[in-house]
């Protein structure tokens, strides 16, 4: 135990000279018994690198050195976001946590993508599925950018119009939806057939 704590004090996110952190190893390291001793920077890192612990304080998802962390995704939506952003096809290391314990949300999903930076447009697409999620860009284990998510005004390409008689389902063309909030729910309306749908009525994506 002492050795593990020493290791952390030396720098969980700031490896000593000649020492690199194996993210999978980090995932198995125990947290110090007195978290109050952590520096402010480390607290921030711990929060934004979204280290997740179970009751016995084991880390569930590893920290990343560079990349994007999408946290506080409502449980069950992470795979949808992966599909939405086409993350599986980008040859990047993607770590997904499903149904992770969360103080705020009870359970949540989480996605970390190494060496990939989400664009503002993509972040707003995430807002469509998980409006309360947080998105941070990590560089050298430090949060360098936070996105204030807002709903996009329009969505091109991605959604498949659920109306079988819509021209977009019959021609080789992109779909186009306008987005609006109605009674606290996200609604999209097709530019072409002019039909309106609740977001959960969209079952298919053009990916």
């Amino acid at each position: 135990m002492r050795r593990q704590c020493d290791f952390l004090k030396r720098g969980l996110f700031e490896p000593g000279r000649g020492q690199s952190i194996n993210p999978w190893l980090v995932g198995r390291v125990r947290w110090p018994e007195r978290p109050g001793e952590l520096s402010e920077q480390r607290k921030l890192l711990a929060e934004h690198a979204t280290i997740h612990m179970t009751q016995d304080k084991k880390l569930l998802v590893s920290a990343i050195k560079n990349g994007t962390v999408i946290d506080h995704i409502n449980a069950g939506q992470a795979l949808k976001i992966i599909r939405f952003l086409n993350l599986a096809a980008q040859n990047k290391l993607v770590t997904v946590g499903l149904n992770l314990p969360s103080k705020l949300m009870k359970i949540k999903d989480l996605i970390k993508v190494e060496d990939w930076e989400i664009s503002l447009e993509e972040a707003n697409q995430v807002a469509l599925i998980a409006p309360q999620s947080t998105i941070n860009i990590i560089k050298n284990y430090t949060v360098t950018k936070k996105f204030a998510l807002k709903l996009p005004e329009k969505i091109e390409h991605l959604l498949v119009c659920p109306n079988p008689k819509c021209i977009t389902n019959h021609e080789p063309m992109d779909s186009f939806f306008y987005v609006k909030l109605r009674k606290q729910k996200v609604e999209v309306s097709c530019k072409y057939c002019e039909k309106q749908f609740a977001l959960d009525e969209i079952k298919d994506y053009k990916i």
Partner: protein, 306 residues
């Protein structure tokens, strides 16, 4: 003249402002009073009907002919390259090179908006599936104005298939500009969809829902009746029941306002008794005729000739 209409598409009634609507109605009135047989000389209308239509197609084509223009086109998609699998985009892109203006009807919803992306020539939507039919709405407004001498503050009853009927949806949206009192009469399962009712509330338009025509016909200035289609009912017995109950007859006209006019986009089936045709309240045949003037007005306006 709003130059904003020159070279414009008319895909949805929502594309037009109140002023543009009033301008088109005024043009239609002028053309009805004074024909202009040479206005569109040397102009070509492509009349593209990918699904059958009688009134809309013939009135578009007649409108063009009566303004001195010429018409190319088809009334059956089986004679086109669409039957060989050509995309609508490609077809319209090519036809746009032959014609000055395109009037089209297509069974798929959103097809007119798609067609407008394929050409810089104006597209006039003559119906895209169950979505929009804006020239019908314009001729309805024209007829309402013609019969009541005004558009604002009227009591208008919309009856029939209010759930799926594109005609009543578009008319209702256009009427938002004119502060009407609206009555919706339909069998419960075919009543006006909730999101349209919300739009009315947002615009502070008074409305009420009814199941029987006799509940409101005495208050109405305009009674707009639409066809109830058999295929809208899961159970054909339900249709038969509604069909016989939901029928406007002479008996309904006792005690109605003198200025009441009955409108119908036609074709009618069972919902409108033909004994009404000879009463002073019947105006649906004149309404169909007015389509000719409204379409003339549109053709003239988008081609920048009036």
């Amino acid at each position: 003249m709003p130059s904003s209409l020159i070279n414009r598409d008319l895909i949805s009634i929502n594309d037009l402002t109140k002023n543009e609507i009033l301008f088109i109605l005024q043009l239609a009135k002028d053309l009805k009073a004074k024909p202009q047989p040479t206005l569109l000389q040397n102009k070509v209308l492509a009349s593209l009907f990918f699904e059958p239509s009688t009134r809309t197609r013939l009135s578009f084509e007649t409108a063009m002919e009566r303004l001195g223009g010429r018409v190319i086109g088809f009334a059956d998609k089986d004679v086109t390259s669409a039957s060989k699998g050509e995309t609508l985009y490609d077809s319209i892109r090519i036809i746009g090179q032959y014609a000055d203006v395109i009037a089209m009807r297509h069974p798929l919803e959103g097809s007119a908006r798609r067609a407008a992306e394929a050409t810089d020539k104006p597209i006039l939507n003559g119906g895209d599936g169950a979505n929009q039919h804006p020239t019908q709405t314009l001729l309805d407004l024209f007829t309402i104005q013609e019969t009541q001498k005004k558009l604002t503050g009227l009591s208008i009853a919309l009856a029939g298939d209010l759930k799926y009927g594109r005609t009543v949806h578009s008319l209702m949206q256009a009427l938002l500009h004119f502060s009407p009192r609206l009555y919706f009469i339909a069998p419960k399962t075919l009543q006006m969809p909730e999101h349209y009712l919300e739009e009315l509330k947002k615009n502070k338009i008074k409305f009420s829902l009814h199941e029987k025509m006799e509940e409101v016909i005495k208050q109405a200035d305009i009674f707009y009746l639409t066809r109830i289609q058999k295929e809208r009912f899961a159970d054909s017995m339900d249709y038969e029941r509604v069909k016989n109950v939901f029928r406007l007859t002479l008996a309904h006209l006792i005690g109605v306002k003198k200025n009441l006019k009955i409108l119908h986009p036609l074709p009618r089936v069972n919902e409108l008794d033909d004994k009404i045709d000879t009463t002073s309240h019947a105006y649906y045949f004149q309404q169909a005729e007015n389509g000719l003037y409204v379409r003339q007005a549109l053709l003239g306006a988008v081609l920048g000739k009036i």
